[in-house]
Amino acid sequence: MTNQIIQAILLGGYYALIACGLSFMFSVMKIINLAHGSLLVFAGYLLWFFAEHYHISPFVGLLIVIPVMMLIGWALQAFLLEKSARGGELLPILTTFGLAIVIENLLFEHFGANTRSLAPYIGDLSWESWELFSGFYVGKTSVYILIAAIVILGSLQLFMKKTALGRQIRATAHDPDTAGIVGINPKRASAIATALAMSTVAVSGLALGVRGVFDAYSGGPQLLFAFEATIIGGVGSLWGTLIGGIILAFAQTIGANIHPQGFLLGGHILFIIILLIRLILAKGGVGHRLKFALGVSK
């Protein structure tokens, strides 16, 4: 039992890490990025590519992949999201959905159907573990991933609260027109925010690759886990995302205990239950209730 709790917390750390970028873009820019999972897999492939062909350790590879993903984020905002966000709340969902399909199929075309993993390139670390107390082991990578999630969420939170740029991004999210009147360049602020979100996606890609295997179509489940963690934790709260990830992992663990195939189902059922409870507890009209259920209204 203790072991399962510890493992669930570690798994929750992974969910929180992959949810960082999604949660950040959702809370700050009100965009649900459905290409999040595919971009994450793309980052994983980039790291794999450098490791396989240039023998660059995936950890060192991050030094290249983070800037690349940030550039992609910047371009994504400037050429796609910015324009589609002007067409209403639904349009970015459709465009990022389309983008996900494009990325997945390009990856499939280029890298084929073989599954890949980053584990072979990190040496013994992939299977090393610490013995917490007699008989209880925790994988080193899992612990590192949890730490990474906490560090990233914490520094994003600090950045948004304490720095001028963070303030500008928050102001732009609140009201881009007024942000302009105050002297903020709203396009720049949004592009920086997207670039930041994509830098966390690069780290998530590393986590995905060292934990197990991925192929071109692995983005879907990652997106789903990230989305569930974000919503359970409540949009707009970055620490909530960490809690959300851990709660999701607990539900999955409990599901797996009840039935060998109940792992995924446990998470989904909890997600639905939380949505329903919020829907019932919320006051006001349908739209307002839905927003509350998703945790958008703060």
Binding site: A164, A171, H174, T178, G180, I181, V182, G183, I184
Partner: protein, 241 residues
Amino acid sequence: MSSLKIENMDVRHGQLKAVRNVSLSIEKGEVIALIGANGAGKTTFLRAISGAHTLTAGRIYLNDNDITQRPSHQRVNAGLALVPEGRKLFTNMTTEENLLLGATSARKGEWNVEKIFEVFPNLIKRRHTKTGTMSGGEQQATAIGRALMSNPDILILDEVSLGLSPLVVDQVYQNLEKLLATDTTIILVEQDLSRAMKVASRAVCMLEGEIVLDKPMADITRDEITDAYFGLHKIKTNSGE
């Protein structure tokens, strides 16, 4: 050299022409009262100057630089600040954060957070309060302070007294007096005519998107303004013909 110059400005809201062929030249240090009924086009005119609306025709010059095509944040950099109608504060942020956002353009000048608190002492205890929970007067003071933080050459105040109790309006204007004494150029929209006549050096009246009266306050009578406000002068000329 005029501080702000507008040439033949047209602004549309879809089919509606909200501002029609407006030209206006403002000298440095002038305090202009922009007067007009609801729907006369004042707010649209001011929002177009600050870059929140695009023009269909005309040009805007700030200190002789053409800023017509510049986005709003560049206009702030160039020295223009708007206190928008309805205040438009970032309500989920504190007073201090709102003020600091006003300094984004980093123009040089005398204004800083401490100086704003000196001018609006009612804000001191609200420094770390989220502005959404504050009273109307405190919010208005924050909005003015936020605009001042950019050290503007021209300050535009749209309906500062809207939704405030007379007592609070008095307070806001008391604070503004210190500001009026500086050489900042000010355009203000004020529905209270006697107040507008007291603080401004020049009156500009708008009616149906056009400027119908533009005179120094000294040479103007209350009746002239009232006529322009309601469009009575049009009826008079019509009946005179």
